[in-house]
Amino acid sequence: MNDLTHDEIVMATSAPLDLISHEKAIVRVEPGCTWTYLLHNGERVGIAYAGRSQFTVDAITETRGGAVGSTVSGALKGIQIYIGQTDIEKVSGPTSDNVLNDCGYTDTAAFLRAVGDSIEHRLNGGRKVQLDKHSDAVFLGRTEQDKPVMLVVKPSGLVFIQGSTVFVEDEGRTVSVSKSGVAFRNRDGRSLVLGGEGIMGLDDFARIGPMVGNAVKMMCGPGSFKALRGLGHMMDESFCCGQDDESEDT
């Protein structure tokens, strides 16, 4: 999405608004934020704003061994860029010098200059951003500690990157990198967690020995075509569950 520019109209919020409201992520804009529209080929595609706002993301992956990850939240500072649909104009009016001063700008020209610099730095310059205009939302923010935050929200999932935390969820599949480890979760609930305590979830592959054995045996017979299908059981749900509990308890 090259050639992104900003509008000349500058507004201010008068009530709180959830700019992003997803099952696992919220970006909330407080009253007293100053903002302007972002334009792409003359069309309004989002906003750039400054002022009090926070983000909260549940970067939590549910695995069979328990939940991994945590909620990541923080206050935002400086110019924040949001591309997607919004009703922010419904809780906004014309900005004032007081609002602009509270946000750290002397006047609208200074705010718009900062927006322009931010667009150039974060979005233009050949970066590719492809969006489904009706449902996707991209948030490019900066925390109070001046660390970048990226949040992409789609109906099927979300992508969140902040510092060393990466959380990707798409149609029930999850990849999570956080202080507590790395977790992968498949749509059917099978998961693998690489944490400080070791590897968790290998129980799903407990029968790898017999599976390799069977597959190799089949290679020497007329059923050699079935050999790879034999390994396909690795991905089969039926064998992997319920065995570990019994063997431990008895």
Partner: protein, 232 residues
């Protein structure tokens, strides 16, 4: 005339036998060369990768990996033996399993009661165990927990707080969803395991606890027996 025909037939048969012998000799020679070549390659491989087995340290890893690795090398070797002609060429990996040693078990046995209490006391009520049991399926909101536990408001919080403080449950702040953590799941499973063992022991020895108490931190088959207090 008949005798001459017979002699010709015998000569032809002899010739065929000679050709067959030559052909067999050639095949035998090829097989010998193949064998020498194969042995040479095997020796080279053995030289390049000496018989040092790969060490798999399972002390910090789940029992699932333990189970998976057990006999894996042997299974692959057995499978390859049945594949004609390849048994000499392919060497299955060798594994040596490192399990929890005596020292590690001794460390567990010396954990003081206050540390045990920190881990166990958050589990110390039926309601808290019920919460962990409900959450093991998937995350639940506060309202859902109220419905499923039959506890409401502060009464439910009274049981949730110790679980949150112990790190057995976490709360997703976006929608207020509660999840059981890896530690919480482990603690609950160990509590279930303990219950199973105690009940099994009771059923063997009677309600008054007479007889031996079996405690094992390792294999089910290698139990360490300690005398019960009543027998000391």
């Amino acid at each position: 005339m008949d005798t001459s025909d017979d002699i010709d037939d015998i000569k032809r048969e002899l010739e065929e036998v000679r050709r067959l012998k030559e052909s067999l000799k050639e095949e035998l020679e090829e097989l010998r060369e193949e064998k020498i070549d194969r042995e040479g390659r095997t020796r080279y491989r053995e030289h390049a990768h000496p018989h040092e087995p790969h060490v798999v340290d399972l002390r910090g890893v789940t029992e699932g990996l333990d189970e998976m690795m057990e006999g894996l090398g042997e299974q692959i070797r057995t499978s390859l033996k049945s594949v004609g002609g390849v048994e000499g060429c392919i060497r299955a990996p060798q594994f040596r399993i490192v399990r929890m040693g005596r020292e590690a078990r001794r460390r567990i046995e010396t954990i003081p009661p206050e540390r045990v209490a920190r881990a166990v006391s958050p589990l110390g009520s039926e309601e808290r165990l019920k919460i962990l049991d409900i959450l093991k399926e998937c995350g639940k909101s506060f309202n859902e927990l109220e419905t499923l536990t039959g506890k409401t408001g502060s009464s439910l919080m009274h049981h949730l707080v110790p679980l949150l403080e112990a790190g057995y449950v976490i709360k997703g702040e976006v929608r207020g969803t509660y999840y059981v953590t890896v530690e919480g799941r482990l603690a609950y499973r160990l509590a279930q395991w303990l219950t199973g063992r105690v009940e099994a022991q009771r059923s063997r020895t009677g309600e008054n606890g007479e007889g031996k108490v079996s405690v094992s931190f390792e294999d089910e088959g290698k139990q360490e027996d300690t005398e019960g207090d009543d027998q000391k």
